[in-house]
């Protein structure tokens, strides 16, 4: 591509034009110098030449304001009145609503007569101006633009586009599972080896031994096993983003969001929400309309953030993959990422159309050309996410694991061992040891609490250990992985130490009630648990940020209650339905 900088500069009223490439990091110093020079010389872009009808509408608005309020407004201020649905200017001017609304409506009608949608006119006129300014300035040399357009015709096709998007996501998750299998096994073997070395050296202090092997290695180890999946996932996300496809994915999703009444600008917060809800909530600040902002903030936590990933990955690796094959693992993973969206769309629809009555606004999205991803940027993104994951394992997960271990270990009633022995004196020493460990956990603070609350989660198929995991995850979702790691390590006795959390979960069976002898983690319970995590508002910082961004606790508490109740209802429905269709053997 060639750019005639001198010609462009002349067309822009002498404003200096310099060539720079953010991708290659070239020309940054030239840009800096040009900005300084332009500021010194006080050069400004020539004003926009509005089409006649728009210019007339702007002038009429200026006149109306002067007539009604006695104040003179600039053309730029009149543009805000004409183009923005929620301009703050009328309040500042003290312009009476009774006179203001008809005046703005009439001005917009005049814009419409020139063939423009009043809410999209401003960017369209600017784009037209840029197109004219660039005429003859940019010369395409390689035909890249043509190729991009040809690929886009396929990838952005109204029907094929979403299907291809879904296919790409399926392929991505299938690759993540397949490629991560081996490094995950190595990490698991490493954790087991560490347990084998550290455990015997702490024989003299059994309490500390349990804290280190069952608590830290069982809990944090179970969490760290998913590091390869996180790394490979972000490798693919980086490749898609750098190649230019993510912007196309944004375009495909924007169709869906605009259909459910969300502001075009809601898209960026929603997309950020797929990584983490908090930056997503903070980026709602770019939405001027407070109603649209509120509606967006309310649905952002539905997006499947990366904290949910270890939960889905554990369930897929332990149950879906071994039972139904790797193809189903990726299908379930994509499905779980869509569950949040599936409920966010109707929620947004009801909020924007019926409760808040948000006015739609267009959104302009620039699609970059396709290019080869830059390895340095992709690796940097992978490293950032790995560092974040490891730092979380070493700090928050580590600390919560210690507390969960203590709650699952204490109180240590010395009579428990005697009671277990008395119940079945003929049992072997090994069996007695395992039963004693299980009895200790059941009478621990965590066990008692879990059993007291479990009936509330019984319709979802959760036993008391899952219930404890679910409740411990309200501050942060991924805590369930380490919590299950601790409760299954502490409770399963010596012979379970060599096994993995996934095996312990597969072996877990109901000990009493109508489901006695059947697996706790049946297909229904596994899907219900994943759906619960997909929909529930289990993230303390998100609720607090929502309160901060909406200016009070009303919407934050409302969102928490709504999402949690919805998660419970949908999880119960999934469990009941799947259990009837595929009863646990």
């Amino acid at each position: 591509m060639r750019i005639d900088t001198a010609r462009l500069s002349a067309r822009l009223g002498g404003i200096p034009v310099v060539l720079a490439s953010a991708w290659k990091g070239e020309g940054v110093a030239d840009v800096r110098r040009a900005i300084a020079r332009a500021a010194e010389e006080r050069r400004l872009l020539p004003p926009v030449v509005w089409p006649d009808n728009i210019a007339e509408a702007l002038s009429t608005l200026q006149h109306d304001v002067a007539a009604d309020t006695g104040q003179v407004i600039s053309s730029a201020e009149a543009q805000r009145l004409l183009f923005d649905t929620n301009a703050t200017l009328p309040e500042r001017l003290g312009w009476d609503k009774e006179r203001r609304d008809p005046a703005i409506r009439a001005a917009r009608e005049q814009v419409r007569r020139s063939g423009y949608n009043p809410l999209a006119a401003e960017p369209l006129v600017h784009y037209e101006r840029l197109r004219k300014a660039l005429e003859g300035v940019v010369t395409e040399g390689t035909g890249k633009a043509g190729r991009t357009a040809a690929v886009d015709r396929l990838l952005l096709h109204r029907v094929l586009g979403p299907i291809l998007f879904l296919g790409i996501m399926l392929g991505m998750f299938a690759s993540v599972f397949w490629l991560a299998k081996f490094p995950m096994a190595w990490i698991q073997a490493g954790v087991d080896a560490l347990k084998g070395v550290v455990g015997p050296s702490l024989d003299a202090t059994p309490m500390l031994q349990s804290l280190v092997t069952d608590g830290l290695l069982g809990g944090v180890g179970a969490f760290l096993v998913f590091l390869p999946q996180i790394l490979i996932l972000f490798l693919f996300v980086g490749l898609l983003e750098d190649s230019g496809y993510m912007a196309r994915a944004a375009f495909i999703m924007d169709r869906l969001f605009s259909w459910c009444g969300l502001n075009g600008k809601s898209f960026v917060p929603m997309l950020s929400g797929f990584a983490c809800a908090i930056p997503g909530l903070l980026s709602t600040r770019t939405i001027e309309d407070p109603k649209a902002r509120l509606a967006t903030a309310f649905v952002v936590p539905f997006m499947s953030c990366s904290a949910r990933f270890p939960v889905y990955a554990l369930m897929c690796a332990a149950f879906i993959g071994p039972l139904y094959g790797p193809g189903w693992e990726s299908a379930v993973m994509v499905g779980m990422h869509c569950v949040g969206l599936l409920f966010a769309v109707p929620t947004a629809f009801v909020l924007t159309r019926l409760v808040l009555k948000v006015k739609p606004q267009p959104f302009v999205l620039e699609l970059p050309r396709y290019q080869l991803p830059k390895p340095r940027d992709v690796l940097w993104r992978m490293w950032q996410n790995a560092a974040e994951f490891i730092s979380k394992a070493g700090t928050v997960i580590f600390a919560i694991t210690l507390i969960v271990w203590a709650l699952s270990y204490f109180p240590r009633d010395p009579g428990v061992a005697d009671r277990v022995r008395a119940a079945d004196p003929a049992a072997s020493a090994e069996v007695l040891a395992a039963r004693t460990q299980a009895a200790y956990v059941e009478q621990s603070w965590m066990g008692r609490f879990g059993k007291a609350v479990q009936p509330a989660f019984d319709p979802c198929g959760f036993d008391w250990k899952i219930t404890v995991g679910v409740l411990a995850s309200f501050p942060a979702r991924e805590v369930i992985v380490s919590t299950l790691g601790v409760t299954y390590s502490v409770g399963e006795g010596a012979e379970a130490d060599s096994g993995h959390l996934q095996q312990a979960m597969r072996d877990a069976k109901w000990s009493a009630g109508p489901r006695a002898g059947t697996p706790i983690f049946s297909l229904g319970a596994v899907l219900a648990l994943m759906v619960f995590f997909a929909l529930c508002s289990q993230c303390g910082p998100t609720v607090a940020t929502l309160a901060q961004e909406t200016g009070g606790w009303r919407w934050a508490v409302g969102s928490f209650l709504y999402m949690t109740a919805l998660a419970w209802i949908v999880a119960a429905l999934v469990y009941q339905l799947v259990s009837r269709l595929a009863p646990p053997a």
Binding site: T205, I278, P279, A399, T542
Partner: protein, 49 residues
């Protein structure tokens, strides 16, 4: 009281204290308008006017 018990209490107590301090610090940062989610997003946003 065994050494075992004292060590375990010290570890668990330190972890609880660290978490509480972290939550208080996060609440303070949120009050100042920044991101305190511990999400690693490094978002630094000024207080709303």
């Amino acid at each position: 009281m065994s050494l075992d018990f004292v060590l375990v209490c010290a570890f668990v107590g330190a972890a609880t204290g660290w978490l509480v301090r972290r939550w208080i610090a996060a609440a303070r940062r949120r009050k100042d308008g920044g991101c305190a989610g511990g999400c690693g997003c490094a978002t630094k946003v000024g207080k709303k006017g």
